[in-house]
């Protein structure tokens, strides 16, 4: 087997401090990123901590379907066990932990949906409205890692066997047989890992690294079956869970990192096993292993802040390793102000887009409107690019279901101009409402369809193990979760609102343009006579983000309509709680490519607005406050997000006074109704230079949407989007 193992890279006499190891690991990480760019090209998504697979490693799955792919419990369990049996080991003696992945099984499949369960009727509407339906999607919820810590893989196996005796339908039997096959493969894999590392330890010539490998081997042998006992064992367990779940289907999010680690940290410190420097090193290596999303601080069940000494160590560790991280600090009324300030300082000094900040009041109060109590609402953690999740308790399809409302607008506009002799914004609105209703209906039906059949397509064999319900009932989490909080995001709110506003202002109020002339320009992509002039006129109408503008008023109306339509679906599908949000993820380019020119001055195929942000150039002063007020006004307010994406210059917090202003700004943004705040700290000159030649800035990390990524790894189109956003609020030195 062609493992990636870096033993005997250093002379026997070389000595290592943690600081030196971190520096070397960071260099290795940058080289791996460069290799990924060279081999895989631009990737508009998270880093995931992946490395390029050895050339000799080729995994050939065994199909169980006539279409050449594999589906259902047996297909997935068999191929997963087979893959674990063949998967090379990645081992770096500098690292505290072992285990890095190369790919996700879902990315190597020819088909992501079992063709035995077609959804042709739904598909027509999905295509018409450019809906990302979520059917066959996976992994976007949060398993409860504590369950894993409490049981270990041996305990999980025992639990499966225990309930195998209780639930005995054919479907249950299939479930348990498959899950047991997976867990046995995991245990065997971990034992093999331990043996391999023990062999490397014998061959490693450097005594310091040899000792590290010995300990690594011991840790892995222990956690193959037993529950983790020390901080190192706990984090190694987490690294492997990341690996196992990523390998399967990209995997879920992390959880409340400080509280997950705290018991182990406190025990080890009390027993004198580690000091803070060691703990920090372990945590830094966790970040190196994977860019999983974690929350820090926030209120416990009684509203007390959960920030503790290890919360600070986590921030320091992230700063130390200085790579793409996805940490979110939960801001609430009883916030530990010192921790909050510390987090803000790291945001501006590290400049890698972490931490993000989420707003507890809006999230908790919003989720409680779905009928949940405050205790449960507080457990719903920041877990992904835009989403929240209760570890181990809910199934969600978060961030996987999106309706391109700009496309819905296009359909409505075309229908109105074709059928109405005297068009108006009122008539346009009526048609927009009709088509958005149909889009939401169809999307909800798609979600129901997914839940009905996903276990026969791609059961959540890994996440089931750390969720409440599946093991106890013998059913996949898509059928057995305690709560089904089904996310439904809208995309393109600013594009739609600005289009309505431009029509109202220029056609109906100012009479500077007729509907007929506008329609012709849109058909010709603003290339008719005076096309660019009229495009500029529409583009500079009163836009969303302007502050009490026409665009702002239309955006509120669009949000209210969308929110109400999504919530009405809860009545159609009892047991499902549909939660609206506004988020486009990295789909702004793809969504835009499907929408022809729009009345807001947008050309054919140009990107739609990002998330809930206004379009670039929304105000001359690019005022953050105006933008955030506008985004606050379109929060659906049911516990999911319409995030704020902010690009700030590093000089803005260049001294303590500046930091204080940013602390206040962040707190106010979240106290005025916003739910989630993603911030890039980017020098506009640096980003312009990096855009010209990304290879000169291999370590420049940007928060693209909810996720962070190496700027050099993004496609040119996405780099341009980030650059445009930076210039939109920091000015481009022209009028």
């Amino acid at each position: 087997m062609d493992h990636i193992v870096m033993i005997n890279e250093f002379p026997a006499e070389e000595e290592f401090t943690y600081d030196k190891r971190i520096r070397l690991l960071k260099q290795r990480k940058l080289a791996q990123t460069k290799e990924k760019i060279e081999r895989e090209g631009g990737l508009d998504e998270d880093d995931y901590g992946r490395v390029v697979a050895p050339d000799a490693f080729v995994f050939e799955p065994d199909p169980n379907h006539a279409d050449g792919s594999y589906y259902g419990y047996e297909g997935w369990a068999h191929n997963y066990a087979k893959l674990l049996g063949e998967h090379p080991l990645y081992c770096d003696p500098l690292d505290a932990f072992v285990g890095r992945g190369f790919f996700f099984m879902t990315r190597r499949k020819s088909s992501l949906w079992n063709p035995d369960h077609p959804y042709t009727e739904l598909k027509a509407a999905f295509d018409e409205y450019n809906i990302i339906c979520g059917i066959g999607s996976d992994g976007h919820f949060t398993p409860d890692l504590r369950m894993g810590f409490d049981m270990g893989w041996g305990g999980i196996l025992e639990k499966l066997r225990k309930f195998q005796q209780v639930n005995t339908t054919p479907e249950n039997r299939l479930f348990y047989r498959s899950e047991i096959q997976v867990v046995e493969a995991i245990i065997a894999f971990l034992k093999r890992v331990s043996e391999e590392i023990a062999g490397y330890a014998e061959r490693e010539r450097n005594p310091c690294l040899r000792e590290n490998l010995k300990e690594m081997s011991r840790v892995n042998l222990k956690i193959a079956t037993e529950r983790p006992g020390t901080l190192r064992e706990c984090i190694q367990w987490m690294c492997w869970f990341s690996f196992f779940s990523r390998l399967y289907n990209r995997g879920p999010s992390g959880g409340q990192l400080d509280e997950l680690l705290r018991p182990f940290y406190e025990r080890d410190i009390a027993a004198g096993l580690i000091d803070d420097e060691t703990a920090k090193f372990y945590i830094a290596c966790l970040f190196l292993n994977d860019t999983r999303y974690y929350q820090l601080a926030g209120p416990d069940e009684d509203g007390r802040d959960m920030a503790s000494p290890i919360s600070y160590l986590i921030l320091e560790a992230a700063d130390w390793i200085n790579i793409a991280c996805n940490l979110t600090v939960r801001v609430h009324d009883n916030m530990n102000e010192d921790f909050f300030r510390t987090a803000v300082r790291f945001l501006f000094t590290n400049k890698n887009g972490w931490p993000r900040f989420s707003g507890d009041n809006s999230l908790v109060n919003g989720f409680m409107r779905c009928g949940y109590d405050q205790t449960l609402a507080r457990k719903r953690l920041a877990a992904g690019c835009s989403w929240m999740s209760i570890p181990g308790m809910e199934y969600t399809l978060n961030d996987l279901v999106k309706i391109n409302t700009a496309k819905v607008f296009e359909v409505a506009f075309r229908e109105m101009t074709e059928q109405e002799e005297e068009p108006s914004t009122d008539k346009l609105w009526q048609r927009f409402e009709k088509h958005l209703t149909r889009a939401v209906h169809t999307t909800a039906a798609g979600i129901r369809f997914h839940l009905d059949w996903q276990d026969q397509n791609e059961p959540e064999l890994i996440c089931n193990l750390l969720s409440q319900g599946p093991v106890e009932t013998g059913l996949d989490v898509t059928k057995s979760a305690r709560y089904f909080n089904m996310c439904m995001d809208g995309a393109g709110i600013a594009t739609v609102a600005d289009s309505f506003a431009a029509c109202e202002q220029r056609i109906e109020k100012e009479h500077k343009l007729t509907w007929k002339a506008l329609t012709r320009q849109l058909e010709l992509n603003w290339n008719d006579i005076d096309g660019e002039y009229l495009r500029q006129m529409m583009l500079h109408s009163e836009r969303f983000g302007g502050g009490d503008s026409l665009g702002d008023r239309w955006a509120v109306r669009v949000n209210n309509l969308f929110t109400n339509l999504v919530r009405e679906e809860c009545l159609r599908y009892p047991g499902l709680n549909f939660i609206p949000g506004w988020f486009s993820w990295a789909n702004t380019l793809e969504f835009g490519s499907r929408v022809r020119a729009t009345p807001n001055g947008r050309r054919n195929g140009e990107a739609i607005n990002h998330g809930a942000n206004p379009t670039s150039g929304f105000r001359k002063d690019g005022a953050v406050t105006a933008m955030c007020n506008s985004i606050a006004s379109v929060q659906p307010f049911y516990g999911n997000c319409a995030p704020v994406q902010l690009e700030l210059d590093p000089g803005i917090a260049g001294n303590e006074e500046g930091v204080e202003k940013m602390v206040s700004m962040i707190r106010t943004i979240l106290e005025t109704g916003n739910t989630l705040l993603n911030i890039n700290i980017i020098d506009k000159h640096k980003i312009l230079q990096a855009h010209k030649d990304p290879s000169k800035y291999p370590d420049l990390v940007v928060r693209v949407t909810g996720f962070t990524a190496y700027f050099a790894m993004l496609s040119p189109e996405f780099r341009q989007l980030v650059v445009d956003r930076v210039l939109a609020v920091n000015g481009d030195d022209v009028a």
Partner: protein, 300 residues
């Protein structure tokens, strides 16, 4: 009540404590050679020509009553000497090539923007800054906005050159929550050379400012070759030493960003191409100021 405003900038972080909205008044009674906001000097409306934004639609040619815009050889040409600043070209120039600065605004219309960021002022102990141009050139309007802000519980800071007789300006100054004023040069002749006016009124006002019991910050724009001598900074610092309500003295490095505006207004810029002072030199001057025993800061 209305006044002439150049622009309103929200989320202003460099015009006083906390998060603020800055209202740039139009019109100034000094002529500082280094001014980086030349569009605020003249009290009337001004037309900017950002030729690089022109899309050659020629709507301005048809809109202009004084034939200041022409189409020549397929290009747009603007003749400022023919312009009567009526703004009709800017009204049809959506591409932003012809931009009018200066708008008569009522107190109500200013406040409609100001109040939108009140939560940010409250949390950060920020507020509104009345800046310029020169606020004291439109005192009644400034007073009305200050009263309107206070009625909403919003603090008001004044940025001013203090170049009006004390008895005339005391009522407005005494209403402010913070005064940020300039002292550019201690030598009156040099002051006259670079700003068009002597500094006697400014110095007199500074001597009497303590009597108002309003905290104030005194600032010097540190301009290469004009205000950046050791002697000037030391003399200003010494002058400020007796000031009881002085919060601190601040050295503001030269701001070179006005050049595109000068070009757009077809105005000569005496400091075109001049760079800000090196950080080390600013620190030297800061140390010099502190030697006088006053609280002092430098922005870069």
């Amino acid at each position: 009540m209305d006044g002439m405003i150049t622009e309103i900038e929200r989320f202003a972080l460099n015009d006083g404590p906390g998060i603020r909205t800055t209202i740039f008044f139009k019109g100034c009674d000094m002529r500082c050679a280094w001014c980086h906001n030349p569009e605020t000097i003249h009290g009337g409306r001004d037309l900017h020509d950002y030729a690089r934004n022109c899309i050659r639609c020629y709507k301005c040619v048809y809109a202009c009553p004084s034939k200041a815009h022409k189409r020549i050889d397929g290009e747009h040409r603007f003749f400022p000497n023919l312009c009567i600043k009526c703004g009709k070209c800017a009204q049809v120039c959506y591409a932003g090539a012809m931009v009018m600065s200066g708008e008569r605004m009522t107190v109500e219309s200013v406040m409609a923007q100001v109040v939108q960021d009140k939560p940010y002022y409250d949390d950060s102990r920020g507020g509104v800054t009345l800046s310029g141009g020169e606020v004291l050139c439109q005192q009644a309007f400034a007073m009305a906005i200050t009263d309107a802000c206070h009625a909403q519980g919003i603090r008001v800071g004044l940025e001013t050159n203090l170049n009006k007789p004390f008895d005339d300006i005391a009522p407005l100054l005494s209403k402010a929550d913070l005064i940020m004023c300039d002292l550019k040069l201690m030598d009156s002749e040099a002051h006259r050379k670079w700003t068009g006016t002597g500094n006697e009124t400014v110095l007199d006002n500074l001597r009497r400012l303590d009597s108002l019991n309003v905290p104030y910050i005194v600032r010097t724009p540190v301009v290469p070759g004009a205000t950046d001598s050791d002697e000037n900074i030391a003399a200003i610092a010494a002058f400020l030493k007796p000031c009881r309500n002085l919060t601190y003295y601040e050295l503001l490095n030269f701001n070179p960003l006005g050049q595109p505006k000068y070009e757009s207004l077809s105005l000569p810029n005496a400091f075109a191409g001049v760079k800000p002072l090196p950080k080390a030199r600013m620190q030297e001057l800061l140390a010099l100021a502190r030697e006088a025993g006053i609280q002092a800061r430098a922005d870069a």
